[in-house]
């Protein structure tokens, strides 16, 4: 059995409940949000460490604010990572499961690293980090562990891209390695391409920070933060471009990725973004929203290009999700889509509360929206209970 046939045979027997492109869309979309948050965490931790090393007034103040941002951002990064984790298993299951089982110990260690990184971030925050104190060792350990987790997930991803190597990964001296204790792949430029944007995302956040706290902090400090943010985005994006070129050069020739229209699109968007970054340096906070939007679009287009690259790799062994059998489950898709819409409403309300509270407004208002959010949640429960009772009665399984 050639590896391509094996992969095809390993697709789940149940098929997909919706057309594969739906999962791919949500995979790319949710991954974009996830990686933005991951980048924010990595960049913030690096700035906290730098701030603690510098020990100057502004840096201390900034690292205090970042200490609070980091703990909540890790939570967001984790929860936003759940969705792409789910969708990748649906359309790329043979690749995902094989790579993970071949490096099983590392797949589990990945979560241990994140858990410890999270704990250490809290150690810093609760150990005085928010008051300008806190031991530098905590953010240092936290960042180191997150980078280690990044290396693991990167290695597992690259292992998926090379199914032709799986049989050689599976054995050593003609003996099957059942321990799952080895990581098998690492591509430095690909890895860096995911890490460098950390400073671009954090830089964007700093610009928003300087805008948001205009009434709370002194303007000299906020000007400094704003300039720092703008500089970080620019430098980080230039480094990202350089490492992107190196990654491109090292890609297998047979992929011919350089002429791929999605790559060309990503390249154009990235270059336009860099040009914009030069333009916005003089007055960054005036361009806070366009910068964030442009950054988001660039990362999204990059994610699409990376997804197309993955498809090209899989195409080499004859795999495409397009012919994955579909056993349609419209009801469950509708359940998700309606819940997703409802979720946006509830999140909008919570965002208003958090935004106004952060500004020091005690009477936050938006009560109608708040009431509607609660009502929608109860409505969700009531509909599910009615549906559940109806189906259970129909199937004779309730009593």
């Amino acid at each position: 059995m050639a590896i391509g046939e094996y992969i095809k045979a390993m697709r789940d027997v149940a098929g997909l409940p919706s057309p594969p492109i739906v999962f791919d869309f949500f995979l790319v979309l949710t991954f974009t949000f996830h990686i933005l948050l991951v980048n924010l965490v990595v960049g913030s931790l690096a700035l906290i460490i730098w701030g603690r090393i510098k020990k100057e007034g502004y840096w201390i103040k900034l690292s205090s604010s970042l200490s609070r941002l980091v703990v909540s951002s890790i939570s967001w990064a984790i929860v936003l990572g759940v969705a792409p984790l789910l969708f990748i298993q649906v359309i790329y299951d043979p690749f995902w499961y094989t790579a993970n089982t071949l490096s099983a110990v590392w797949a589990l260690a990945f979560l241990v690293f994140i858990a410890l990184a999270f704990v250490f971030a809290y150690c810093f925050y609760l150990g005085g980090g928010y008051e300008g104190r806190g031991q530098i060792i905590w953010p240092f350990l936290s960042l180191a562990l997150l980078l280690l987790a990044g290396i693991v997930i990167h290695s597992l991803t690259v292992t998926q891209l090379h199914p032709e190597k799986w049989p050689s990964f599976a054995i050593q001296n003609n003996t099957y390695i059942s321990s799952g204790k080895y990581l098998h792949e690492f591509e430095i430029f690909r890895f860096l391409h995911f890490i460098f944007p950390a400073f671009a995302v954090t830089g964007t956040w700093l610009i928003f920070y300087s805008k948001y706290f205009k009434e709370k902090y002194d303007s000299a400090y906020l000007n400094w933060v704003e300039k720092l943010g703008a500089k970080l985005i620019l430098v980080s994006s230039l480094l990202q471009a350089a490492v992107g070129i190196l990654w491109l050069i090292t890609l297998p020739k047979e992929l011919n990725f350089i002429s791929n229209p999605y790559f060309i699109l990503a390249l154009i968007v990235a270059l336009l973004f860099i040009a914009f970054l030069f333009y916005m340096q003089k007055n960054p906070s005036q361009y806070a929203v366009p910068t964030a939007l442009f950054l988001g679009i660039t990362v999204f287009v990059m994610s699409i290009a990376r997804e197309v690259l993955r498809m090209s790799y899989f195409g080499l062994v004859g795999y495409t999700f397009a012919d994955y059998p579909v056993n349609s489950s419209v009801g469950s898709l509708v359940l998700f889509l309606l819940t997703f819409l409802m979720g946006l409403i509830v999140l909008y309300y919570v965002a208003i509360v958090a935004y106004r509270a952060g500004k020091g407004i005690k009477e936050v208002g938006a009560h109608q929206l708040g009431k509607a959010s609660v009502t929608l949640m109860w409505l969700w429960i009531i509909i599910m209970v009615i549906l559940g009772i109806y189906i259970s009665l129909k199937n004779g399984t309730l009593f």
């Binding site: 499961y97 589990l108 599976a170 099957y176 958090a354």
Partner: protein, 438 residues
């Protein structure tokens, strides 16, 4: 078949079991906590007791750290451990319930947004808004339980899904409602024990007041939860009931879980109605440990009575499909594998290990044995259901004796039939024979 992961002493399934049992603690805390906290916050405003808000702050911080570090990561840990232990099992669940999980994910996001807002805005926004945010969290967390229970219950009682393959037929299965109601009320017990831990660290008048309130809520939850457990047990399939009474270790787990439950109920009764001052940090810490043991046993039973299946009646523990599901064009695999062999399906191996030769017999035998046994059995001398000891008890005189035993596996109600053809079974037996200490 995917590569197989062997975990010395534990077995790969126990890795899932341990992570999953641990996860119940922070996840049920996450579900139950804010119902209690929001109620206490309301009392704080009604009775003009700002000291109660100190409890709210501390409890929420505990929730943030414990549930949103260890809870969320152990939740993903269940996925990851299932991915590496039983990839076809988790794949089967995901390919049926992906939109269910995606729906649950929306509520995870709401949980994260609301819990941070709740923690950071305490005292900074008007009470009405703050309570509403807490209430939204409590609802989102409960809904996440409403969803995941459908998938958990499906694994034991897939019900009509076995005929229709329909999402909702499997989701609203025979044990769904009793399990949901049992978990819903028992979560107040889990939240209660954490609440009492925090309350024990407060100053006296507040401590006694809150001990009483929390204990009473927890007591009520435990009693109602217990009643729904009885309903749940009555809904179990006959095969599960027979396994429970037939396998001594399951009955033992049941007794331990019951004792843990009774001790907790008794504690809540004492601290809620008789002597609230009894509540202290040492006792609550011990009871927390007891709660974990109780949950471990209960989850162990839930998993154990499903043997030999991952998805009852549909997929065996060794990840081979047991039954046709025409609605989804799924064909049973076990008979085909017994005829054509397992090796043709192990495409991740090099060709040198996919044909049995005189040189590779033992190694191929090991691989076949791993695929059949490693999920539930340790291959080491000691550990969970260790194969050397189990086979040693049979006192086999030759590999043929083990081969005969493997051929008859399917006749045991809790064991799946051997997945492999005659030759593969023979080399697996030869390998397993080498494990037994002479």
């Amino acid at each position: 078949m995917y590569p197989i992961w062997d975990v010395p002493y534990l077995s790969s399934a126990l890795v899932i079991g341990l992570i999953a049992s641990f996860h119940v603690l922070p996840s049920h805390l996450a579900v139950g906590a804010l119902w209690v906290t929001v109620y206490i916050e309301k009392l704080a405003y009604l009775r003009n007791r700002p000291d109660y808000l100190d409890f709210v702050k501390r409890f929420t911080l505990l929730l943030l750290i414990f549930s949103f570090i260890f809870g969320s990561l152990s939740g993903i840990g269940i996925w990851y451990s299932a991915t590496v232990s039983s990839p076809r099992g988790i794949s089967g669940l995901i390919h049926n319930y992906v939109w269910g999980w995606a729906t649950e994910w929306v509520f995870f996001i709401i949980e994260i947004a609301t819990i941070y807002a709740y923690y950071y805005t305490l005292g900074k926004v008007d009470p009405k808004t703050h309570i509403r945010i807490g209430y939204l969290y409590a609802l989102a967390a409960w809904i996440s339980m409403i969803i995941i229970t459908g998938i958990l219950a499906f694994m034991l009682t897939p019900g009509k899904w076995l005929e229709t393959g329909d999402f909702f037929d499997g989701f609203f299965n025979p044990t769904y409602f009793p399990q949901l109601l049992a978990r819903t009320f028992l979560m107040f017990g889990v939240a209660g024990i954490y609440g009492l831990t925090i309350a024990s660290t407060l100053k006296k008048p507040t401590k006694l007041d809150l001990t009483k309130i929390i204990s009473r809520v927890a007591f009520g939850g435990m009693i109602l939860g217990g009643l729904f457990v009885i309903w749940y047990l009555s809904k179990l399939p006959q095969s599960a009931k027979e396994l429970y009474t037939g396998l001594p270790y399951l009955s033992k787990l049941g007794k331990i879980a019951l004792v843990c439950y009774l001790i907790l109920v008794f504690y809540f009764l004492l601290t809620g109605f008789v002597i609230p001052r009894l509540n202290n940090l040492i006792l609550t810490s011990l009871l927390m440990l007891l709660t974990f043991v109780g949950i471990l046993c209960a989850e162990g039973i839930r998993e154990g009575i499903r043997r030999p299946f991952i998805i009852n009646y549909f997929m065996y523990g060794h990840q081979v499909i047991a039954k046709d599901l025409p609605a989804k064009n799924i064909k049973a695999e076990i008979e085909v594998i017994q005829k054509e062999g397992l090796l043709p399906r192990l495409g991740y191996l090099p060709d040198s290990l996919r044909k049995i030769t005189s040189e590779n017999r033992l190694e191929v035998g090991r691989i076949i044995a791993l695929h059949n046994c490693a999920n539930c059995h340790a291959f080491t001398e000691k550990g969970l259901r260790p194969l050397p000891a189990l086979f040693g008890k049979l006192s086999p005189q030759s590999p043929e004796d083990i081969d005969a035993f493997l051929a008859a596996l399917g006749s045991f109600p809790y064991m799946p039939p051997f997945a492999g053809n005659d030759e593969e079974r023979k080399v697996a037996a030869e390998y397993l024979f080498t494990l037994i200490k002479k």
